[in-house]
């Protein structure tokens, strides 16, 4: 019973961990959608002519970037209820991930936006496009494809930080593994399996991202 690796136990916990991985994937996907969206909003607001908009946004982005994700998770889960905002652990975790990585994504978008030649803005003005259509039809379609690889890196990084959600007892992979381990006093199998899950998902995601990049390149070539 005391061998290094217990296969019977492994088969027993595998379905449980597989189910928990769905929570991890859910947190990753929703967190990243939030991050990618918020990041774009932050980046555009920071370009505002009005310092009343750009400066507070810049300050907020710097603040979030400079504080640990774990604190933000705790803050949203434990402090928001003081202000009447009660969220489930998973929702709070997704919100924290999205917010935290949104600030990183905003820097990526900012670089992408800064690379658009001035002539594109000027042609948009000369055609009398509104600010909204200038961004939506001219600038963003050109700014995003080149930064997809950088955004993809943050997707993988966000994914690898989802175990932090175990700190507020979200039943994702890590938390589930910890519970399994504490019930049976065998940590080797659950923790190792979680590591393998992460490895496999990271590799799959990286491969998918390469597909997307290749597709964007072919499309961008026109």
């Amino acid at each position: 019973m005391n061998e290094i690796w217990d296969w019977a136990y492994t088969w027993e916990i595998l379905p449980i961990l597989a189910r928990a991985s769905l929570v991890t994937i859910q947190a990753t996907i929703l967190g990243f959608i939030l991050a990618a969206t918020l990041g774009l909003v932050f980046a555009i607001l920071r370009m505002s002519q009005s310092p009343w908009i750009s400066l507070p946004v810049a300050g907020f982005v710097e603040f979030i970037r400079s504080t640990p994700l774990l604190i933000q998770i705790f803050f949203i889960f434990f402090v928001f209820p003081e202000f009447g905002i009660v969220l489930s652990a998973l929702t709070a975790g997704i919100l924290a991930l999205g917010l935290h990585y949104g600030t990183y994504c905003s820097e990526v978008y900012r670089a992408g936006l800064a690379n658009i030649p001035r002539g594109q803005w000027e042609a948009s003005t000369a055609l009398n496009l509104s600010g909204y259509h200038t961004f939506k039809d001219v600038i963003i379609p050109q700014a995003i494809p080149p930064v997809v690889p950088a955004l993809g890196n943050y997707l993988v990084a966000l994914f690898k930080e989802t175990p932090l959600l175990s700190a507020i007892a979200v039943l994702e992979l890590m938390q589930t593994a910890k519970i399994l381990g504490s019930e049976t006093f065998r940590y080797t199998e659950p923790i190792t399996l979680v590591g393998i899950f992460f490895l496999v998902f990271s590799l799959v995601t990286a491969a998918l991202l390469r597909q997307v990049e290749g597709w964007l390149k072919r499309r961008g070539g026109g």
């Binding site: 030649p117 000027e122 000369a126 009398n128 050109q142 026109g222």
Partner: protein, 267 residues
């Protein structure tokens, strides 16, 4: 604040620069410029590098703010708007309304690289003029045919030569139905053998469309043949202006003489 400038009417020029001054920091690029352009008139702007030619067009296209003076379009202030009998700087809404009368073609084309030729000419009419997409596509097709690119509708800018790209850019500007067209050295970035095809399109525009045109050009031959009037810019001022026959055959200003002989020597 200055007095408002009467009401719009037949007598008003299409474009009026009224004591327009533009400075970048301490560098005054245009100094109290006065220039009237009549309806349908074709004005060629020539002059040495840095004399402010591009700046004139960019101010009219509202790509640059002006520091002093007023620009009028069809008698209506462009850079300003009337508030209680006074002129105050124009807001975005006012700019957007008046800017619709003006189109511009740039030296480096500035086509949208992620849209094919047709889409380049369709987006603004659909989103700005609220034209139904079908109609916008039909009109854009006609315009691209007019500039000789009827067989290139699906081509992206990267698949077109410089001359073809510039012709798409002309069609794109025309699709917005401007009354005034601005051309800033539109052939300067082209290989010599492609210049002719773009100039031919501009000739055709001049003949077939009711357009007022301001063009900055180094093509003296074209200016001579095409323009109704030539303005020679020097150090942010119009140093000399007149019909091309006079300016080219018989320049009075010493600067004009020097400039023209230098240009003619180079070609």
């Amino acid at each position: 604040m200055r007095e408002t400038n009467g009401s719009a009417g037949e007598a008003m020029p299409m474009v009026r620069f009224d004591h327009v001054t533009k400075a970048y920091g301490s560098l005054t690029v245009l100094n109290a410029l006065n220039l009237d352009v009549a309806h349908g008139e074709k004005v060629a702007i020539i002059g040495p590098s840095g004399s402010g030619k591009t700046t004139v067009l960019r101010m009219l296209m509202t790509l640059e703010r002006i520091n002093d003076g007023v620009i009028y379009v069809e008698g209506e202030p462009l850079t300003h708007m009337e508030r209680g009998g006074k002129l105050v700087p124009a807001n975005q809404r006012h700019l957007r309304r008046l800017r619709g009368k003006i189109g511009m073609v740039f030296q480096h084309f500035n086509l949208f690289p992620h849209m094919n030729a047709l889409k380049n000419c369709v987006e603004a009419p659909v989103t700005v003029l609220k034209m139904p997409r079908r109609e916008a596509e039909e009109r854009a097709t006609e315009l691209l045919e007019m500039v000789g690119l009827g067989d290139k509708l699906g081509h992206y800018p990267s698949q077109l030569s410089g001359g073809q790209q510039q012709r798409v850019a002309i069609a794109r500007a025309l699709a917005m139905r401007p009354k005034i067209m601005l051309f800033d050295e539109v052939t300067s970035a082209l290989d010599p053998e492609l210049v002719g095809e773009v100039l031919n399109v501009i000739r055709k525009l001049g003949a077939e469309h009711d357009l007022t045109m301001l063009m900055v050009t180094h093509q003296m031959g074209f200016a001579k043949e095409f323009a109704d009037r030539v303005c020679f810019f020097y150090a942010g001022k119009i140093a000399e202006e007149g019909p091309p026959e006079e300016i080219f055959a018989n320049p009075k200003n010493e600067r004009t003489q020097q400039f023209l002989s230098a240009v003619l020597e180079a070609t």
